[in-house]
């Protein structure tokens, strides 16, 4: 079976709704294509939440766009690996097939609710649009369903606000509309790319709770992209830390927080503000190297305190600690 499934094989579990196997995504800089995501693998089962964590530029959003098939043409491309959504191989499919999958069996919520909705179309229609497209519903039936969806995401007075435009909504309300929009066709997989980053802290909690609630109810496989480890701890089942396009650590949330093992994961946790101790925040020294200057081996090596000669070679993901599903990609942390 694929590497992705081996990582966290659970007997008798439902088959995963999303499988990403050895995905490599390249970005063009000038005339050269560079690997921005290097052979990452994971699987998400129905009702499960996988959090993809890392700082800006680590490849997490590119992974999401690759899965959606929405990489900007001419700038980004999937150059290797397989993406299987609800049994359909998206990498082998043609564009019409991918079009029919998007918005139907796989939905996505974006970071910026203020700009992600079309300012000149009524929100009811924007939610209803994919139902008209994929389910062939009449406009009236689709709008009726849109009202139910808006009620599901708790938009107050949904029926009277179908004709309202995005500028009449607050940021939090717009993100609810985005969730309703992504859920319109009952997708199997939902990708949420930093869904709460642009929102006020109080609204963040509401939106997260709403997403978790809807996810359990609809049996969604959720790929949650975030840089906020607090969000990970509160809603995710499993976590995957990315750095420079590589998965550097992955495992169940409990095992990860009990024993963060990659030097980068440790650094991420040390850079998080804590409500209890007086220890000052520890920023991670240096910056993510640009794509053109990435080291060939372990990409964190340039910023790592545990660096040694072997880091010029990329370490494999190997089990660490007590949980066999807890994997780390670091020579220094491998069991001898």
């Amino acid at each position: 079976m694929t590497a992705a499934l081996r990582d966290d094989f659970i007997p008798d579990a439902e088959p995963p709704a999303l499988v990403v196997d050895e995905l490599t995504t390249q970005i063009r800089v000038g005339r050269t294509w560079y690997d921005a995501v290097r052979g990452i693998s994971f699987a998400v089962r129905p009702r499960e939440t996988l959090a993809l964590v890392g700082e800006s530029g680590c490849g997490k959003s590119l992974t999401a766009l690759s899965v959606m098939g929405l990489l900007p043409a001419g700038v980004g491309r999937v150059s290797g690996g397989r993406i299987v959504v609800d049994g359909v191989d998206m990498t082998a499919a043609d564009e019409p097939t991918r079009e029919s999958m998007r918005g139907d069996r796989i939905g996505m919520i974006f970071q910026e609710p203020m700009t992600s909705l079309n300012p000149v179309l009524p929100i009811g229609f924007q939610v209803a649009e994919s139902l008209i497209q994929h389910r062939g519903l009449s406009k009236k039936a689709a709008l009726n369903r849109a009202r139910e969806l808006l009620e599901l995401v708790r938009v107050p007075a949904a029926a009277s606000r179908l004709d309202a435009y995005p500028h009449q909504f607050s940021g939090g309300m717009r993100q609810r509309v985005m969730i309703a929009l992504a859920l319109a066709c009952d997708p199997k997989v939902l990708i949420a790319d930093e869904p709460t980053t642009a929102l006020d802290v109080t609204i963040q909690a509401q939106v997260l709770a709403l997403m978790a609630d809807v996810q359990k109810r609809e049996g969604l496989a959720l790929l949650l992209i975030t840089h906020n480890l607090g969000v990970v701890a509160s809603v995710a089942d499993r976590v995957m830390v990315m750095y420079g396009g590589d998965v550097v650590e992955s495992g169940p949330v409990r095992a990860f927080f009990a024993r963060p093992s990659h030097p980068y994961s440790e650094a991420l946790l040390a850079a998080m503000p804590r409500i209890d101790g007086d220890t000052p925040l520890q920023p991670i020294a240096g910056q993510v190297p640009t794509l053109t200057q990435m080291p060939t081996g372990c990409r964190f090596a340039t910023r790592c305190a545990l660096r040694h000669d072997r880091c010029a070679e990329l370490p494999p993901l190997t089990p660490v600690g007590d949980d066999p599903n807890h994997l780390v990609r670091c020579w220094a942390r491998m069991s001898p």
Partner: protein, 313 residues
């Protein structure tokens, strides 16, 4: 909506007042004595004084201003100095030709410019984009009298598709339409250039917006994404440029009307200038000013239709 219209009409009053005052002042500071222009330089001082009295030019300037304003408010543009016919009649006789030409040019500019701009943005740096860019550049660079003569040479003289001598006042509607094609194309070309450029840059911006990504994430066909999601957001700049051009076209109609020998406001302006017919000139400027203010009001009203954010303000 009605309140918006009323508000917009009230706001137009100071604009019109300012324009009318400027026209009044301009006509009186242009060098040259109108009485000499009318009676010739051999006229006696007595005859000229008599004419001045008749035209009201011997009154104090403030009284002339009050007369001028009250006349216009009653819809009276006065009488032509050279022909002594009511100016309103002269203007109304040719106004339909200019309106016809301007609207036809507006249609040409929009119908050619908008799809060209969208096509150029969709195929950025592709063949359509290059074509649109070169076409735009040529459109802006050619003065209307040069392009008009070229159009006449190619399509009227060589190919004989359209009449050389305008038959704009023909009774036969088909003949009238044939006479309209080349002038409308000539006047519209200038606008095609601008409309194409505004559409292209607006579409390029819109296609990179987050809401377009959302639309694609819904699995909509690319055509729907382009037209329903991106293009609708570009309507505001397009309406702006088209509205502005309504004013520009009224002014540019002069050259086209002369090259194609069409009756219209433009030809009347030239006649008035040649005859130093101050009152006719004054009347024509008033009519043009009203037309441009009306065009701007229409543009503002259209904003409310294409952008929901305008309505609630």
């Amino acid at each position: 909506m009605l309140r918006f219209v009323i508000k917009r009409l009230i706001l137009a009053i100071p604009t019109l007042w300012a324009v009318l005052t400027t026209v009044f002042v301009l006509v009186r500071v242009v060098p040259g004595d109108p009485t000499i222009a009318i009676l010739g330089d051999q006229a006696s001082e007595g005859a000229r004084a008599e004419l001045r009295d008749k035209l009201g030019l011997s009154k104090p300037i403030l009284a002339q201003y009050v007369d001028f304003m009250s006349q216009i408010l009653t819809g009276d543009l006065g009488r032509s100095l050279s022909t002594n016919r009511p100016i309103a009649d002269d203007v109304l006789a040719v106004l339909p030709y200019t309106i016809e030409l301007t609207l036809a040019a507006l249609v040409v500019g929009t119908v050619l410019g908008v799809p060209l701009g969208v096509l150029a943005a969709k195929n950025r740096n592709g063949f359509a984009d290059w074509f649109a860019r070169i076409f735009s550049l040529a459109g802006v660079s050619f003065p209307a009298f040069v392009s008009g003569i070229l159009l006449l040479l190619v399509f009227a003289v060589e190919l004989r598709w359209f009449p050389v001598i305008s038959s704009a006042n023909a009774a036969d509607p088909v003949e009238r339409l044939r006479a309209l094609v080349l002038p409308a194309l000539n006047l519209g070309l200038l606008m095609v250039a601008y409309v194409t450029r505004v559409t292209r840059s607006g579409m390029l911006k819109a296609l990179s917006e987050d809401y377009v990504r959302t639309a694609r994430a819904k699995g909509l066909p690319y055509r729907t994404v382009v037209w329903r999601h991106a293009f609708r957001n570009v309507l505001v700049p397009i309406v702006t440029v088209v509205g502005l051009y309504l004013g520009v076209l009224i002014g540019n109609a002069v050259l086209t009307e002369i090259v194609f020998n069409r009756p219209g406001i433009g030809k009347l302006i030239v006649t008035a200038l040649n005859q130093r017919d101050y009152s006719l000139l004054q009347g024509l400027m008033v009519v043009s000013a009203f037309a441009i203010v009306l065009a701007n009001i229409l543009t503002d009203l259209t904003y409310g239709l294409v952008d929901p954010r305008v309505k609630t303000q």
